[in-house]
Symmetry: C3
Subunit: 359 residues, 3 copies
């Protein structure tokens, strides 16, 4: 097997991943790819965290295994120990890069780059991409096939825009932002004013979108421009596929939002919140830092969601939700108990009546 | 600052927006853009509706302020009074147009327009757009980069198709329809017939889609073609991002549908209904004119939703939903009360038993 | 009317659709299209299943009517009887093909096909499509305008990729797979590892996607690649629009999934399951063969859903859900009953107290 580009020695990898080589020839063995314990072979690095999987890891054929500190595993060619093997593995993967990220610099002859657009050094522009007047694409960014970068939009250094991404005019991406295929940034927000005849007139949607550094956005997600102000996604935030982010939404840093969640206009999600999938949030709500909202939950308009774990529609603290849900499941029993009580009370009444004589 | 194209005098704007200049040099001052009270500067028009914001509006630097009739505000260069300032502001914005709407007429050299397609006067066809045989694009329509207009599809006058829109063959758009990036119109509906071996065979999806005048559809929304008949969206209806409209759905005029709502096959939504986000509707349901359905609600197949406000799954009148939801929150209390009653009744039984002697 | 291509005699059609000509000149009459009873005219085949519609079918102007065995209908030019007319109609439609499926073989001059890509015989590649290095497209497949086929991806014989589809590198489609416009296959799964400073590092998403034969996927649906392993969709499975399939999900054969459903990572859906719209499934859940899950239901992480019909969040057997839902609606009545019981018990207590004297 010829040595793949990007290969690192195990010792180099350990340094980058925050671990320590404890077994094997760390300077001689090279790795170039990540793989699961089962699938890993020569040139691959894998990891194990759960002691139940140590045996499988020992039997594996990886060139390098990342294992928990003190696990004293042997077996594959080399072992790196790390406090948090999964994190070290993620860092290792980032160091090894994937081939698909390695696009040659240059503009494909079929791409349409406006005369007034500015491309930084090492930029890749794929086939049939369109970059309009006044747009700027930073150093090393990769604008893949069929991407549309609207007039005056700014794409920071090292961004990756997968095929079919659409940036409407004037939106801004920071550095190392990744947008997956079909993402739409900066379409008009959904705002209308109804006149007395019932006709809807569009409220102007002339604001913009700012996506800060190191944000990743999943396929076919939509992030609308602000009506008059801006929609903002903070640094390091990660958004899954098919998510809806409405106009003027403000999302902080290091927020995680799972697939198909929808966030209505002007809602604020503070830094370090975690939002499950298919969650719906009304407008002008506020999710405080440290809040975790379970999948399919519903946040009413204007609601403030405090730190802690929340669930259900409308959202409640998880403990409360569980308690209510358990009672919900016991409703038939409660129904029977009430019927039994009614029967018993009728009997008591009749006996008292008999005994007491009155009524 | 050079005078921007499209600028209007405040007096012209007042006439178009249905207001009256009450202060300032309405003939001399020109505006060209809309902005928020805080951001507005020279050349901008803004609006204020809430008396709490009058002070901020007075201090603003807009060239023109639209304020409620009788508010007698002064401060920015010019003041227009209107009965409904937000509506007047929306009308003003429409009059001022956004630059991105102003695309030069002409067909980009990379666009592929079939010999048999017909383009009206002043049509803009962007880079890499494809217009197939027999398609027609009406006067002044803008078919932006990368749009696909299938064979025989018709695009009415003044439509705007944002990058990446796909029209399958034969669908029809009325005049001034706006489709945001990634909208798919006319994909096959989801219909199969299962044979005795469990294999699904496609039920033909050979109908079409008709979208009437002045409809706006948000990014990545999907509107499927009818199976044998048509899917229809009525005049002036507004649909948000990531909405699913299944085959043979009939939507009336001036309907509003928020993001991520899904409407199953053959369901009818009558004119002037309002549908929240993430609502799900089963097939063959009917939403009557005047019904308002809250976000995340679920409408069962075949259900008729009458005028009024509805909520929950399955949908209930809002008042009923609120009442039930309050009781739901009080279930733990009710549970305790039932336990207390059981205890009390047991005690009564035992005392009666003692007293009465029998049983 | 000139004879359309693809026309078949009614007798040929009956053989292909599993029916029997019982009336009319089955060898002389030719049909080429499917239509509804009301819209059908010369050259069209239609069907009727419900006896209530027999009269309308008799009055129709179709060239051919498919009717239930033994219905002895007459009227249109020809009648085919079949055990299951709707199924026979679906098979007839497949035999007649739609014109839009008939794309001339060849590569459009604007398409970009890498030197190392392999195209089978009769392949159609539309305008502005991109096929990267090492990709393979099987015999007769149609890669429509603007489609992106990533490096090393494999597209089986007879596949149809509608405009704007994006296949990331290395994914595999079996034979006769249909992907509607805007489908994204193989984008990165949503997986991160948080470090002690709260920063999210991407867990490698370097697995792949395998879609087996005869799968159909609706517009703008997203199917993510496996993190280290693969995401798999089994033969004959049908997926609607705007569905989210996360990394490492395993979907069996002949599964049906309606629009806007979301399936979290590593969840397994066994063959022949049926999933409604807007369903949410947590990760590592398992839906067993024969399970039917109603729309908007929520499946908790790790949950096993057994055969039968399920509903609600968290999912419950439909019968249980209905029972609980009915009790939910009767909560106000139960509340009143508990209040009445409290009143009665107080009265009993007071009377016993009076009578008994003690306490």
């Amino acid at each position: 097997m010829s040595e793949p580009e990007g290969a690192l020695t195990v010792e180099e990898l350990a340094a980058l991943a925050g671990g320590r080589v404890v077994s094997g020839d760390g300077r001689g063995v090279r790795v170039s790819r990540v793989a699961s314990v089962e699938a890993a072979g020569e040139g691959d690095v894998t990891f194990v965290e759960d002691a139940k999987l140590f045996d499988a890891a020992r039997r594996g054929r990886a060139s390098c295994l990342i294992a928990p500190t003190g696990s004293a595993l042997e077996g594959p060619a080399c072992v790196i120990e790390a406090e948090r093997p999964k994190l070290a593995f993620a860092l290792a993967a980032a160091a090894l890069q994937r081939p698909r990220s390695q696009r040659a610099a240059g503009v494909h002859p079929t791409a349409q780059v406006a005369g007034g657009a500015k491309l930084g050094e090492g930029v890749h522009v794929g086939a049939h991409a369109v970059i309009e007047e006044g747009a700027e694409v930073g150093e090393g960014a990769r604008v893949l096939a069929g991407v549309y970068v609207g007039a005056g939009a700014r794409v920071g250094r090292g961004c990756v825009l997968h095929p079919g991404v659409v940036l409407y005019e004037g939106v801004t991406l920071g550095e190392r932002v990744t947008l997956h295929a079909g993402v739409v940034v900066g379409a008009d927000g959904f705002g209308y004013v109804r006149d007395d005849a019932g006709v809807y007139h569009k409220f102007p949607q002339v604001g913009t979108v700012v996506i800060e550094d190191a944000v990743e956005v999943g396929a076919n997600t939509c992030i609308d421009r602000g009506a008059l102000g801006e929609t903002r996604i903070g640094r390091g935030t990660k958004i899954d596929n098919l998510v809806q982010v409405a106009h003027n939404v403000q999302i902080g840093e290091r927020v995680v939002i799972a697939a198909q969640t929808g966030i209505s206009g002007s809602t604020v999600i503070e830094s370090d919140a975690v939002i499950g999938g298919q969650v719906g949030m009304g407008d002008h709500a506020r999710v405080l830092s440290g809040a975790v909202i379970g999948s399919q939950a519903g946040v009413l308009p204007g609601k403030i969601v405090r730190p802690g774990v929340w669930w259900g529609t409308p959202v409640q603290p998880l403990a409360e939700y569980k308690r209510l849900n358990a009672l919900w499941g016991r409703l038939p029993r409660m129904r029977e108990e009430v019927e039994e009580l009614k029967r018993q009370v009728r009997e008591l009444q009749s006996r008292i009546g008999e005994e007491g004589g009155e009524r």
